[in-house]
Amino acid sequence: MQLDVNKGLPETLVATLVDLRRGDAAVLDRIDLPGDDARRLMELGFLPGATVVAGQSAPGGDPRVFRVDGSEFALRRETARRLKVRPTPKATR
């Protein structure tokens, strides 16, 4: 599994999908949203343990497209911020 999460940033900041740069991959840890919203995201493949790859963003950087489970979905920054990614071996050093 690819875990090269944004090496340039301190580990405390590499915690959500927002911190991924284009092409970065990370493993989703948990979804910090109310039950129904989290369930909706999970049905689309944003499941804990799934690998999420950051893709292109709209001009201006928001929303951004994420690849997960073979599909691409656009999420706004405010939503992507609530999807926490697992600290990776590299980030924890």
Binding site: P63, D69, F73, R76
Partner: protein, 628 residues
């Protein structure tokens, strides 16, 4: 101009070519996630033998069609809304669940299910198979996009998947018509149903996804390589600079085509109407009946039918953009602007189509899941400059604004005035959205989720079917409501009869009504004749032109004469007031009706009508007094 996707009564009137369900051996539900190619398969199965109605009581469209089996029998196919799951949270999911379990009033419980999944994305799509298969109905699992799967090097073993799922499986390409034999065989009831190797897992999403993964693994499923063309196209369409440029070019092309290139088509329809109307009229010996035919048929129905080419062009563009997958990218690019006024990117699509007509735009808001966002979009859609305002703007601008160069040679003062009116409508929409979203329609933010499907070539068959559908609906409306309104207006200008002859127009019923409301509109610089025009423009905005034309006793085709008459009756301040009144007012019965239906009551359309009327009156009042 207006049109409407259906009327409640249509679903109760039996149409001769559309047999009732009792005569049919089978009713089969078609279900699948969004972007699985479900609609393409529905079109392939039923062709022209389909009809669109609403599910009784709600505004979700119900498509049903007849699939003719090779053995001569027929099956009734119900196309259910595209859903990611059956957990009843959104309106779409509630309906799908209720129909499949036979709990939906007025819809028979289906005897079998066609479940359409995208074979290039099997694992995620199989998660919908779990709740569907556990319903216990005979189900064919259709894996669509076989051509894409093959091209991108994916594969799977159909027999093992069928054995694992306990349901027959077909690998097809609905677009190319590949592998359809299996679907027909299933519909004919000639397919054995295997026992499942493992019962589907329902309790929670992660477990269900694991079950889907196991099913795929047993079937030796190899997912295809990522879609290279989609990545390449997205690096252009979502490029920080190139993306917005392409976006602007697409918008300009759509507008330019609808407003300029549609002109010859509109002229053709007008000519057809005038020629046929005049020929019919010349065959009629009675003058009253002859003028009724001329006014009601040529000027009434004809003035509306001329917009048919525009409507079809708009639907063609929307169809191409939607089917190709570009519309999702456009919504993504527009999301930032929409976010500033408190709306989301999905609102952009309906608002774009509101430039043609608010009615289909309001129906297109159904894709917006958040109810408050959806209502806010419905409430601002009529501010967009719809094509019914265009003739009114053209007439008044031509009468009052001299044609001089404004910005260089290409932008004249008249063009600038026209652009200004478009911007005025847009500004009103944006400000109103801002007000609504920070007050009565403030909402907790639901996550904005938009799937970016792979790009695909649209098929002419699917777009053609859509155009035939929309065209029929539009013509049906013109032939009923609009003809009727025009006929009533005609009669009102001829009554009451004095000594067996029609009265002078100011003493007719229509004239009396106009003079009654005159005190109200006098402060805006309008007289009673304009008042009658304003009242008739409630049916559709451009009616004011034909009404004023006949009230001023002039041939409507002689626009210069009408312009002179307007210059006599309106000051420049009054003309500006009239333009601003049209930019803001909600003079459209069809829009009011569709808002009532979509919001489920009179509260929102009443509020919207009051707000827009107050804005129109105040704006016109200020314009008349400041300029006048």
């Amino acid at each position: 101009m207006s049109e409407c996707s259906d009327c409640r009564s249509c679903s109760t009137i039996p149409e001769p070519e559309f047999p009732q369900s009792a005569a049919l051996p089978k009713s089969v539900a078609l279900i699948g996630p969004p972007n699985s190619g479900k609609t393409t398969l529905f079109n392939r199965l039923t062709g022209l033998r389909q009809k669109v109605a609403n599910f009784p009581g709600v505004t979700v469209e119900q498509h049903t069609g007849i699939a003719g089996l090779p053995d001569g029998r027929a099956a009734r196919i119900i196309d259910l809304p595209g859903v990611y799951s059956l957990s009843p949270r959104s309106e779409d999911e509630r309906i799908a669940h209720a129909v499949l379990t036979g709990a939906y009033p007025g819809t028979d419980k289906p005897e079998a299910i066609l479940l359409v999944l995208d074979s290039t994305n099997l694992h995620r799509h199989l998660m919908l198979a779990a709740p569907i298969l556990s319903l216990g109905l005979p189900t064919l699992v259709i894996l669509n996009m076989a051509d894409d799967l093959r091209k991108r090097g994916g594969h799977l073993d159909l027999d093992s998947l069928a054995a694992q799922l306990g349901a027959p499986v077909a690998l097809i390409s609905a677009r190319r018509g590949e592998g359809m034999e299996r679907v027909w065989e299933f519909l004919a009831g000639a397919m054995p149903i295997p026992e499942p190797a493992e019962l589907p897992v329902l309790q929670d999403v992660p477990k269900c996804r694991q079950w889907a993964g196991r099913m795929g693994a047993h079937a030796d499923y190899h997912p295809p390589a990522p879609p290279q063309w989609t990545r390449r196209l997205d690096s252009v369409f979502l490029h920080p600079i190139g993306g917005p440029l392409v976006f602007a070019a697409v918008v300009v092309l759509v507008f330019q085509t609808i407003f300029s290139y549609a002109r010859p088509l509109m002229d053709g329809v007008t000519w057809l109407f005038e020629t046929s109307g005049n020929w019919f009229a010349s065959q009629i010996p009675w003058p009253l009946l002859r003028s009724l035919l001329e006014v009601v048929w040529v000027k009434g129905a004809g003035s509306v039918i001329v917009f048919l080419p525009q409507i079809l062009l708009l639907y063609m563009f929307i169809g191409i953009l939607e089917d190709s997958g570009y519309l999702a990218r456009a919504a993504l690019i527009a999301d930032r602007t929409m976010a500033r006024v408190g709306l989301q990117g999905k609102s952009f699509i309906p608002l774009l189509s509101a430039y043609a007509c608010a009615v289909p735009a309001i129906m297109a808001t159904r894709t917006i899941e958040n109810k408050r966002d959806r209502f806010a979009t419905i409430l601002i859609a009529p501010f967009m400059t719809c094509s019914a305002r265009l003739p009114v703007y053209l007439l008044i601008i031509a009468a009052f604004i001299p044609d001089r160069p404004f910005l260089g040679r290409f932008v004249s003062t008249q063009t600038a005035a026209m652009l200004g009116l478009y911007l005025l409508g847009f500004a009103a929409a944006v400000v109103t959205a801002r007000i609504l979203k920070s007050s009565i329609l403030k909402s907790g933010r639901t996550p904005f989720l938009l799937e970016m499907p792979s790009y695909r070539w649209p098929t002419w068959k699917s777009i053609g079917l859509r155009l035939v559908d929309r065209g029929k609906i539009f013509l049906r409306r013109v032939g009923t409501v609009i003809l009727l309104v025009t006929a009533i207006l005609f009669v009102l200008t001829k009554l009451p009869l004095t000594n067996g002859a029609a009265p002078p127009i100011e003493d007719s019923l229509a004239g009396t009504v106009g003079r009654t409301i005159e005190p109200v509109i006098r402060p805006l610089g309008f007289n009673w004749k304009i008042g009658i025009g304003l009242i008739t423009s409630l049916a559709s905005r451009e009616t004011i032109i034909s009404s004023l034309g006949s009230i001023y006793g002039m041939d409507e085709s002689n626009k210069a004469g009408l312009q002179q008459a307007l210059r006599r009756d309106l000051t420049p301040g009054g003309a500006l007031a009239l333009l601003i009144f049209f930019a803001f007012a909600m003079q459209c019965i069809s829009t009011i009706a569709v808002v009532r239906r979509e919001t489920g009551g009179w509260k929102w359309p009443a509020l919207q009508f009051a707000y827009m009327s107050v804005l129109a009156y105040t704006g016109a009042f200020l314009a008349f007094h400041i300029v006048g």
